[in-house]
Amino acid sequence: MTEPSGIPAPAVRPHERILAMRGISKHFGAVQALTDIDLDVYAGEVVALVGDNGAGKSTLVKALAGVYPPDGGTIEFAGRQVTIDSPADARNLGIATVFQDLALCDNLDVVSNLWLGRELTVGGTLDEVGMEQQSWKLLRELSAKIPSVRIPIASLSGGQRQTVAIARSLIGDPQMVILDEPTAALGVAQTAEVLNLIERLRERGHGVVLISHNMADVLAVADRVVVLRLGRNNGVFQVGDTGVTGESIIAAITGATDNAVTRRAAQKNPEKGGEP
């Protein structure tokens, strides 16, 4: 068990591939949620996973987190072929996930939620003091606006809960952090802190997967943008390359250059025309 501060950098050297998913597929009854998905994540890299509602982003993340083991395909993590059958497996590998639905226990307080499943102990009993102290340190680093860590999660606002979920993914020593729409409910300052955090994670050589619908955030922090559309890969963009703009990514997300976003833009500035 590692404390939130002073964690050594991951064992993988920067720019080595941490994760390689190949041919991942997953269906729910008659719905083929994922078909033949490939995804690579390198150490020290932020990969943004984007796509429309229902494109399969959360399903892919859950396959990686051990929530829904995939039907087919292979996962290579830190150079080894692995099977991730349970959330405990994912955590032992060093994959930490912030789920879109947060997955917090409403009846437990903030400290219990942060350390759930990996509580610190002294002599076999819970080390409440140690956990509370480190919780405060961690929450301050995220500029969390949480009045008390001893109140039940149910009494927090949506953004405060999201901050707790993010803070939780940082406990332990994950090699890879997956954030499923982490800033959806956050205030301006907290969003900036999360983006800063993502950049700090990259500097320390962690692999980061960020799911977001906010193109500005994606372009601000991501090194690579992977687009999913209707459960399939629909393009990879290297941020910074010429020709990679919000518009080109949106075109891949919606599957057409003539889409709702461009039409709306055209209505607003008729002189620029409908073409991106």
């Binding site: 939130p4 501060s5 002073g6 964690i7 987190a65 929530v67 349970s86 959330p87 405990a88 994912a90 955590r91 996930t97 789920f99 997955a103 917090l104 226990c105 409403d106 009846n107 437990l108 219990s112 759930l116 499943g117 990996r118 509580e119 102990t121 076999g124 009993t125 819970l126 003091v129 140690g130 509370e132 102290q133 405060w136 961690l138 301050r140 680093e141 500029s143 606006k145 949480i146 009045p147 008390s148 860590v149 001893r150 109140i151 039940p152 999660i153 149910a154 009494s155 927090l156 940082l170 406990i171 020593d173 994950p174 802190e193 800063n196 955090l197 700090r200 994670l201 320390r204």
Partner: protein
């Protein structure tokens, strides 16, 4: 995770305030008056804890004492304490399943089966007494394991599994007892002696009270010191001493009162020890934290890497084992096992005790102490009505009404908790 670049700006400004007291929105409660205000705020928020049951118990005792002055006599209270142990132990198991949001309806049958195994094994088959006791407990554990496997492998609702168990193990109990139907356990066996005749010597009872208070105070003090060292708010020495004094009164006065006649029965002491031990396991260990997490949100617990199946298995096993132990205590107190052992109202009293004591039916909320408080309420009603020579019909109706009241309080406080944001 180290996030070196961030300089938490609040820290500098916060000055000497403890790390958990810096948010300006936090209402500060200082001194004893403040503690009282914090308490009132908590109750209003629907976090009732043990309050309704303590108030209810006071009312029940006052009414019965007014109707019959024997009720609060030392003799009657000693009896009351001895009556609590068996069903109270079963209720302790019920608290555990309720914390998971599940139920075990078969605890009565399992306790009856365990009584039968004890009597038949020891008296008819000539097993050593300890062997019969262990066999009965092991049988309880196996039954719990069976429930747990059915629940975790096939996802059958615990309500249905244990309803089947209620019938099945009642049948097994009748089978074990055979044609005799009723078997007496010799009075001079240690288990009957333990349940009927053994009481703490007076000096030892006070010594135990003193040691308990000292342990409580020591633990509170070291905890406060560690919090202070970690720059967290801590209880002042005065309030720790006040709490110790309160605990001393709560323990010493009843002990003194019971000691005026027979004293504190060993069987009752065993029950108290079990309650305190379960409370420790539930609040101070990773296992206990996992139980509350699973009861609050199974999926979140699973995603946090908790081995949810093991938690269910362990709890079902403990519940059935406590039921078996309760059956052993009941049989030894009666010095007999028969076809109605564990029958009648055993099941419902155990479940009612857990709920009346304040453990929520909705899972994730409750305490080991609710078994103690709840069973004292139920046995008080039963004992009071017996003293008034009212028969079972009235007792059932009153216990039913109290149970209904407890469930209504549980549901209402759940609603006001949601309104006040306490989950």
């Amino acid at each position: 995770m180290s996030i070196p670049n961030s300089v938490p700006s609040q820290d500098a400004a916060a000055g000497s305030l403890a790390a958990d007291r810096q948010d300006e929105r936090l209402v500060q409660h200082h001194g004893p008056g403040g503690a009282l205000r914090a308490f009132v705020a908590r109750i209003r928020g629907g976090d009732l804890g043990a309050l309704p049951v303590v108030v209810g118990l006071a009312i029940i005792w006052a009414v019965f004492q007014a109707l019959n002055p024997v009720f609060l006599s030392s003799t009657n209270l000693v009896n009351l304490s001895m009556q609590c142990a068996a069903v109270g132990t079963i209720a302790l198991g019920i608290v555990l399943v309720l914390l998971l949001g599940e139920i075990d309806l078969s605890v009565g049958s399992v306790s009856g089966l365990s009584s039968a195994v004890l009597a038949v094994g020891f008296v008819q088959w000539g097993w050593p007494l300890l062997g019969a006791v262990l066999a009965a407990l092991a049988l309880g554990a196996v039954i719990g394991l069976f429930y747990g496997l059915l629940y975790t492998r096939f996802g059958v609702p615990s309500f249905v599994i244990t309803l089947a168990g209620l019938l099945g193990f009642l049948g097994l109990q009748l089978l074990v007892l055979g044609r005799t139907g009723s078997i007496n356990i010799p009075f001079d066996s240690w288990i009957v002696q333990f349940a009927q005749q053994m009481f703490l010597p007076e000096w030892l009872s006070y010594l135990l009270v003193l040691l308990t208070v000292l342990a409580y105070g020591w633990q509170g003090w070291t905890h406060a010191r560690r919090r202070a060292a970690a720059n967290l708010s801590r209880l002042s020495t005065t309030s720790i001493l006040l709490r110790c004094a309160a605990l001393l009164v709560v323990l010493a006065v009843p002990t003194w009162y019971l000691n005026r006649t027979r004293g504190v029965g060993l069987m009752f002491l065993l029950f108290l020890v079990l309650v305190v031990a379960m409370n420790f396991l539930l609040t101070r260990t990773r296992w206990g934290r996992a139980v509350f997490a699973v009861g609050g949100n199974v999926e979140a617990a699973r995603r946090a890497g908790i081995r949810v199946r093991r938690v269910y298995l362990s709890v079902f096993i403990l519940t059935s084992t406590f039921a078996a132990l309760g059956g052993l205590l009941a049989a030894s107190r009666l010095a007999a096992a028969n076809q109605s052992s564990g029958g009648g109202d055993t099941n419902l009293n155990a479940i009612a005790a857990a709920v009346i004591g304040g453990t929520s039916l909705f899972g994730g909320r409750g305490s080991a102490y609710s078994a103690l408080l709840g069973i004292v309420v139920i046995q008080s009603i039963s004992s009071g009505l017996t003293l008034l020579s009212l028969d079972a019909s009235v007792r059932y109706m009153i216990t039913g009404a109290v149970l209904l009241l407890a469930v209504v309080i549980d549901s209402l406080s759940r609603r006001s908790r949601q309104a006040a944001g306490r989950g």
